[in-house]
């Protein structure tokens, strides 16, 4: 008994000494070495491949993987390969959090690219803040978030609306009907929209929210008919948007006099509702598939040859693509031993990249991106015609509807 115990203690002590000398990074505070070991850099890819939002998130997954493959084929980052660890959170916020924890803690990914809905972003946020890791979020969203652990590459309300709302007021008029799905995103977008409309002297004749998944719009359309708004500002999402457009068309309303203006209707949604139902309506976004630039031509061609000739690219898959390139540029500035989520965050501040939509930049203060908004009108073939684009890139302001708050590098400030 005694002997055994003594042996055990001896072996244990030896093993302890070995660990201390042999694998110093496990014990030392500077654990950065583990993030870029054996010539590979591990990143997490966290998009739902099953469940309700899988339809759209699958395209984001594809764009992300394509960007990683491109970078690896061109020699990687300073000779190191990016290794994606792909997880399927199944459109469920709780699973998102669980998979994020796995990617950050047991896979030791240096960054995670992922998620589409705000609900899933909010679910993973505590994981990244607690572990001081980095989450790259490609979707346009409602703003009002200020985290040191998220790089936001999609548009916030001011970027989609600052040009769009005045343009619509001038072209169509001042009677606005706001219709949205009943959750946080439409309400925040409408908050900002109402501010802009007030400044322009336009009138909100109705603000209405329908339940998520709602598919019967005949009463709403009746109200359109009797109120005769000059613009219908729609933040209806998901399958509701298909029903709204198809019933609008069936009712014989005319987009030329009463257009719907949307921030979320992309090529992807148009494919689901049919070009005939979407034709004539307007969308504001930093990217459209038809945008004419050498970078976009390359992106669309690469995407179609990699994933299929009938696939569409859209404004969320574009940002999923360029954010990986921003990641690459940031990591390339670092020595292999310095690579960690925190150093990447510092390195990506102010970083610029020539994306398919044009040159974009990460704002050092709030980690959102300077983007190039455009206004598109949908055509019957399911593509958009770009009517105008902002003269310059537009600064991201996640607190645009709340002038007394500002997101800075030190966190949220009350002014």
């Amino acid at each position: 008994m005694n002997r055994n115990r003594r042996n055990f203690l001896k072996v244990g002590a030896a093993a302890g000494a070995l660990t201390l000398t042999g694998f110093p990074h496990i014990w030392s505070r500077n654990a950065s070495l583990a993030y870029a070991a054996d010539g590979e850099i591990k990143v997490g890819v966290l998009f739902s491949l099953t469940g309700t939002t899988a339809i759209i998130e699958e395209s984001l997954n594809k764009a992300t993987l394509m960007a990683i493959e491109e970078i690896n084929a061109a020699g990687g980052i300073n000779g190191m390969k990016i290794t994606p660890v792909i997880e399927d959170p199944a459109s469920d916020p709780a699973t998102f959090a669980e998979k994020a924890r796995k990617l950050v803690l047991s896979d030791r990914c240096v960054s995670v690219f992922g998620s589409y809905t705000s609900a899933s972003r909010k679910a993973v946020l505590p994981v990244f803040e607690k572990q001081d890791n980095l989450f790259w979020y490609p979707t346009l969203y409602e703003g009002r978030e200020c985290s040191k652990n998220v790089i936001y590459t999609g548009a916030v309300p001011n970027q989609q609306q600052d040009d769009f709302i005045p343009w619509l007021v001038e072209k169509f008029g001042k009677r606005w009907y706001l219709i949205g799905s009943n959750y946080i995103y439409p309400k925040e977008e409408n908050n900002y929209c109402k501010k802009l409309l007030e400044k322009l002297g336009a009138e909100v004749i109705a603000e209405e929210y329908v339940p998520l998944g709602h598919s019967e719009f005949s009463s709403v359309i009746n109200k359109f008919r009797s109120e005769k708004p000059s613009v219908i500002f729609s933040t209806v999402v998901g399958d509701s948007v298909v029903a709204l457009h198809r019933q609008y068309r069936a009712a014989g309303l005319d987009p030329a006099t009463m257009p719907m203006a949307s921030l979320t209707t992309s090529e992807n949604e148009v494919a689901a509702m049919g070009g005939d139902a979407a034709a004539g309506h307007f969308t504001s976004a930093p990217y459209f598939m038809v945008f004419d630039s050498p970078e976009n031509q390359k992106f669309v061609e690469a995407y179609r040859s990699r994933w299929g000739g009938d696939k569409v690219t859209h404004f969320v898959s574009e940002s999923s693509y360029f954010q990986v390139h921003l990641f690459k540029q940031a990591v390339a500035k670092l020595a292999a031993s310095d690579i960690s989520p925190v150093t990447i965050r510092e390195a990506v501040k102010g970083e610029q990249y020539k994306a398919p939509q044009g040159l974009v930049k990460v704002e050092p203060e709030n980690l959102h991106c300077w983007l190039r908004p455009k206004i598109g009108q949908c055509k019957a073939d399911g593509q958009f015609e770009i009517l105008t684009q902002s003269a310059d890139w537009l600064e991201p302001n996640p607190y645009s509807a709340y002038p007394n708050q500002k997101c800075t590098a030190e966190g949220l400030k009350e002014i």
Binding site: S219, V242, A250
Partner: protein, 289 residues
């Protein structure tokens, strides 16, 4: 004036969709007592049928209606013969079994047709709008209203005027005594289930040009259908007609004066209150017990 007319038309359109979706459920529940939770999936399959025939063969929705009715009725017939038949008089088990069937059908569709939202083209002749007494309404919605009423009339006539209908009514009142008089209740049940499923498929195909088509679409319809049937009173076709009219007009009107979120909540509250005081529904038939 045109506001009143267009509001009535909106309500009628809502009612017609409710009636279409609820009719099949009402027949199945009324005759066999099976609570068919897969009913929404029959509706969804009908919509996918319309989408499939359109994208594969270029068929117009109207042309595909009959084929879809037959196909979904056949499916209903098979499901009755293989699963439901063994579960009569075991209401809890049928709920579980039909729910399971619904989940399976949903996933099969997702695996074969994909999870994307789909759409069905409106038939060209009906894609415009028409003026009625100064109000404008979608021609297709009026057409759906016509079909719903036609189907109801057909079903009601079968129930009322044919020998088969007489047998059904006998079984509904008392299965054991009907059987002892030589009525083959098993056969009648199977035919009823198939017919109800077929009508659900028809409903799905008819509403597909107005809505988005997705594997989950059935879930909302099955809830609506149950609301209509419970409010109208089970075993009463006229009750189904009346309650879909009441529910459609009420939710249309409430949604006009407030919004759809509140309308939905108020309608549900109203149903709860009515059921509290009239558990047999608005139009319960008088059955001699």
């Amino acid at each position: 004036m045109d506001f009143v007319v267009s509001q009535i038309l909106t309500g009628l359109s809502l009612s017609s969709i409710l009636l279409l979706v609820a009719l099949g459920l009402a027949i199945i529940y009324g005759v066999t007592g099976v609570i068919n939770l897969a009913h929404g999936e029959f509706v969804m399959l009908g919509a996918y049928g319309a989408w499939l025939l359109q994208t594969q063969f270029g068929w117009n929705v109207l042309a595909s209606l009959f084929v879809i009715f037959l196909a979904i009725a056949l499916l209903g017939w098979l499901l009755e013969a293989t699963v439901i038949r063994h579960l009569y008089d075991r209401p809890l088990d049928t709920i579980l079994a039909t729910w399971g069937l619904g989940v399976m059908i949903q996933q099969i569709v997702r695996l074969t047709a994909g999870g994307e939202l789909r759409y069905v083209q409106m038939p060209p002749g009906l894609s415009g709008s028409v003026d009625i007494l100064g109000a404008t309404d979608s021609a297709y919605r009026l057409f759906v209203l016509g079909v719903a009423l036609g189907l109801f009339a057909l079903t009601w006539s079968i129930y009322r005027y044919t020998t088969f209908g007489l047998k059904l009514r006998a079984i509904t009142q008392n299965r054991a005594i009907a059987s002892s008089f030589g009525i083959n209740s098993g056969q009648a049940y199977r035919a009823t289930f198939a017919y109800g499923a077929g009508i659900a498929g028809l409903a799905g195909a008819l509403i597909s040009p107005l809505k988005s088509v997705s594997p989950e679409m059935g879930t909302t319809y099955v809830v609506d259908a149950f609301m209509v049937v419970v409010l109208g009173g089970v075993q009463s076709l006229m009750g189904t007609l009346a309650s879909s009219a009441v529910l459609g007009e009420a939710s249309g009107l409430l949604a006009y004066f407030s919004n759809d979120t509140i309308a939905k909540a108020l309608v549900l509250v109203a149903i709860v209150i009515i059921i509290r005081f009239r558990p047999q529904g608005l139009f319960a038939p008088r059955v001699r017990a």
